[in-house]
Symmetry: C2
Subunit: 395 residues, 2 copies
C-alpha cells in the first residue's frame, strides 16, 4: 500500500550526516563529530543518592503524573537562576521541556505557517532546521563574522522588504561555529525585532559553559516587548540523558507553549524533574560548572595548540570562549566531506561533521565542525596531529 503522508513530511528527511554518526561508535576512529558532553563530568554519584531518596517510599511524588508545565519547584529554581543571569523571571514565565530541542519544535508550531520566513545564522544548528522543517518555513540565511550574525546584513534584508516571522539564533558559543554574538549586535538585533515586528528564539544551551572572557547579556534581558523566547538546557551542565531543558518567555507565550507541550507528550519525566530540583537544592551547581569549564578549557586549548602548530596555513579556525565546538574553514575548493571519506577516515582514522549540512540555504563544502568535548587531551593530540599530517600532504 502507498501511504498518503501529510504535506509537511516533504521537509522531513533523514539527515545527510546520519550515516557519518556511525564513526562515533567505532573505537578505531577518533571522531570529533559528536556534540556530546564529556560523560565523565556527569554528577552520577550525587544523582545516585538523589534517585535513591526519591524512590524511597510509595513513589507518589516522583513516579506519578504531575503538571504538564513542569514541577513547580523546578520552575521556581530556574526562574531564580535566570533572574541572577539578568532576566527578571517568575515561575509563570518558565516551561520545563524535554531538552531545549522540544522548545524549538513547540515554538515553530506556535509561530510558523507554511511559507513564513525564518532568519537564522548561516551556518546554524542542524537540530533547529530539523525542528522547523515540518512547519514548512522559508529560510533567510544571515552570514556570520567573528562577532556572530551580521545584523547589518539582516537590516538590509528587512529594509528591502523581506518580512521575517521569526529569527533563530545561538548567541553564545554558537553551534557549529563556537562564535559569540557581540553586545552591540545583540542590541541591534533587539532594535530590529521591535522595529520590524518579529520574534527571536534565543537558544543558549552552552551559555553557562563559558571558560574565558566576560559573559554577554542575553537577548532576553534586553527584551522590553516580550519578543524573545529563551531556551536553556541541563544537558551540558548536568547530563543530556535526563532530557530536561526550559523556556523563558512572556506569560502569554508560555501559556500557549504549555498547551502545545500538553498535546505533544503530557509532561516531562516527573522523576527526572524531581531529581534535578533536588540536585539544585542540595548541591552547588555553579561549583560543578566550574569543574566542567576547567576540563573543556584544557581540551579546547589542546585542540587549538595542534591547530596552531601543526595545521597547514590556509586553514582558518575559531577559538571559542565556551561551549564544545570549533569551526574550520578550508580553502574554497576543498570539500571537507569528500576528504574525510576518502582520506581522513581510512588513513588517519579521524572524523568530524562536514560543514555543508549546517547551512540552511546555500550549502558550502569547505567547512567542518570539530568538537573537543569528549576525548582526552591525548586523543585530541593524536587525532588532530594525524589529520594535520594528512592535510599537509594534500593541501
Amino acid at each position: 500500500m502507498t501511504i498518503r503522508y501529510a504535506d509537511r513530511m516533504e521537509g522531513v528527511k533523514p539527515s545527510a550526516i546520519r550515516q557519518l554518526l556511525q564513526y562515533g561508535a567505532d573505537p578505531s576512529i577518533i571522531s570529533f563529530g559528536g556534540g556530546y558532553p564529556d560523560s565523565s563530568l556527569f554528577p552520577a554519584r550525587e544523582l545516585q543518592d538523589i534517585f535513591a531518596e526519591l524512590l524511597c517510599g510509595p513513589g507518589e511524588k516522583s513516579l506519578q503524573y504531575t503538571h504538564s508545565t513542569g514541577m513547580p519547584k523546578l520552575r521556581e529554581q530556574i526562574a531564580a537562576r535566570m533572574t541572577t543571569d539578568g532576566v527578571a523571571t517568575e515561575q509563570d514565565n518558565v516551561l520545563i521541556l524535554q531538552g531545549s530541542q522540544q522548545g524549538l519544535d513547540l515554538a515553530a508550531r506556535l509561530l510558523i505557517n507554511p511559507g513564513d520566513l525564518v532568519a537564522t545564522e548561516a551556518p546554524t544548528f542542524l537540530g533547529a532546521l530539523i525542528a522547523f522543517n515540518p512547519c514548512q518555513p522559508e529560510y533567510l540565511a544571515i552570514p556570520m563574522d567573528k562577532d556572530g550574525m551580521m545584523t547589518e546584513v539582516l537590516e538590509q534584508q528587512l529594509q528591502a522588504g523581506r518580512q521575517i516571522k521569526l529569527l533563530y539564533t545561538v548567541p553564545d558559543f554558537h553551534n557549529p561555529t563556537g562564535i559569540t554574538l557581540s553586545l552591540e549586535r545583540r542590541r541591534h538585533l533587539i532594535q530590529l525585532a521591535n522595529q520590524y515586528d518579529f520574534i527571536i528564539l534565543e537558544d543558549s544551551p552552552y551559555r553557562e559553559v563559558r571558560y574565558q572572557g566576560e559573559k554577554v547579556a542575553t537577548l532576553k534581558s534586553m527584551d522590553s516587548e516580550g519578543r524573545v523566547i529563551y531556551f536553556g538546557s541541563f544537558s551540558k551542565i548536568l547530563a543530556p540523558g535526563l532530557r530536561l531543558g526550559w523556556s523563558v518567555a512572556s506569560q502569554e507565550i508560555t501559556e500557549k507553549l504549555g498547551l502545545l507541550k500538553l498535546a505533544a507528550d503530557t509532561q516531562c519525566s516527573t522523576l527526572n524533574m524531581a531529581a534535578v530540583s533536588l540536585y539544585l537544592e542540595r548541591h552547588d551547581i555553579d561549583a560543578h560548572i566550574q569543574v566542567i569549564k576547567a576540563r573543556y578549557l584544557a581540551k579546547k586549548e589542546t585542540m587549538m595548540s595542534v591547530l596552531e602548530s601543526e595545521f597547514p596555513a590556509g586553514i582558518r579556525y575559531t577559538n571559542p570562549h565556551g561551549g564544545l565546538f570549533t569551526w574550520l574553514e578550508f580553502p574554497e575548493s576543498f570539500d571537507s566531506e569528500k576528504f574525510m571519506l576518502e582520506y581522513a577516515v581510512p588513513q588517519a582514522r579521524v572524523a568530524w561533521v562536514p560543514g555543508a549540512t549546517f547551512f540552511p540555504t546555500q550549502q558550502r563544502k569547505n567547512f567542518a565542525r570539530f568538537s573537543y568535548s569528549t576525548h582526552s587531551e591525548e586523543k585530541i593530540i593524536q587525532g588532530m596531529s594525524a589529520l594535520a599530517g594528512l592535510l599537509k600532504k594534500h593541501l
Copy 2:
C-alpha cells in the same frame, strides 16, 4: 505587542476540564476525575535498586545521549512482548515514545493535512483530540454501544462517500467509557480500512490491565497491509512519571515517526529507558501486572456495588473488564457538569469528569467519567454513597 501566531493555534485552547482538575488536589473532596494509576502500585523499591545500579560509575550509558529511536535493548524487549501478544514484531518496528501521548502527536503530524477527516469513537480520549487539533483535522464521530465503536455506522459513512484519512480508536477498556471493541467489530474495522484506504491508530494503554474475561486480538495483529499504528504505554503497568510508551508499525512508518521524534525532542530519557529495560530483565512484570489487576478489580467491584445498590434507577453505567474507568449515563435532560458544580462538590464533596468534553463534535451533557483507580475501597464507598444520596434527592 500582538503576536501573530500560526493558524494551527486556532485549535489549541485550554481544556474545559482544566479548572475541574483542581478538585483532585483538594483533600476535602473525593475526586473520581483523574485518570491516574494508583501510586501505591508503582514498583518504587525495585526501581530504587535499578537506578542505584545504573548511576554507579561514570554514567556513560545512562546519562549520555543515545539513539533517537530509543535504546535498542528496550525496543527488542518490547518487540518480544508484542510478539507474545500476537503481533510479529521486530526491533525496527518499535519506536520508544515520551508516553503514548507523543505517539498521537507524531502520528497526527505524519498523516493529517488541514481539513483531513479523522474518525473517532464518540466519546473519545480527550488527549487524542488535543494532540490532533494542531493539525486542523475535521472529525467524524462514530457512536458506541456495548461492543465499542459501531463499525456499521462507520461503513454507512464510507459508503456515502466520506473520505477518512485516519481512524483513532481505544479498543481495550476505552477512555472514557471502559468499553472493549468486540472481535467481530475489529475484523470489520480492518476490512473497512483495507477497502477504503485509511490508517488506524490503535491506542491501547490499558490493554495489559484486563482483570476479567478473555483478551481480544489487537487490530495490529490482523493488519496485513501495514495500516495500523499501535501505541502501548508503561504508564499503567509501571509508572507514568517515567514517561515511556511505544509505537509498533511498519518499518516505513516507524522510520518516519522516528524522524519526527528526533525533530520533536531528540530522544526519551536515556536513564529512564535503561531503568525500564533493566526492570524487564530482572523482574517478572507479568507477575507485577497480576497484582495491579487484583487491586483494580477490587476497586471496580466496589464502585459497581454502590452503583448497583444505591444509585437511583435511570442512571446507566458500564461494567469494564479492565482499565480505570466507568461511564455513567444520566437521563437526557441531566447536565452532569452543572450538577457537579452546584450540588455534588459543595454538598457531597465528590467530583468527576463531566462527559461533554470527550465528544469530538456534538457534545452531550448527560454523561460522566468516573475513575476507580486511585482511591481506597473505603473512599470509593464513601464518595459514591454520598453522591447516590444526593442524586436520589434530585432525580
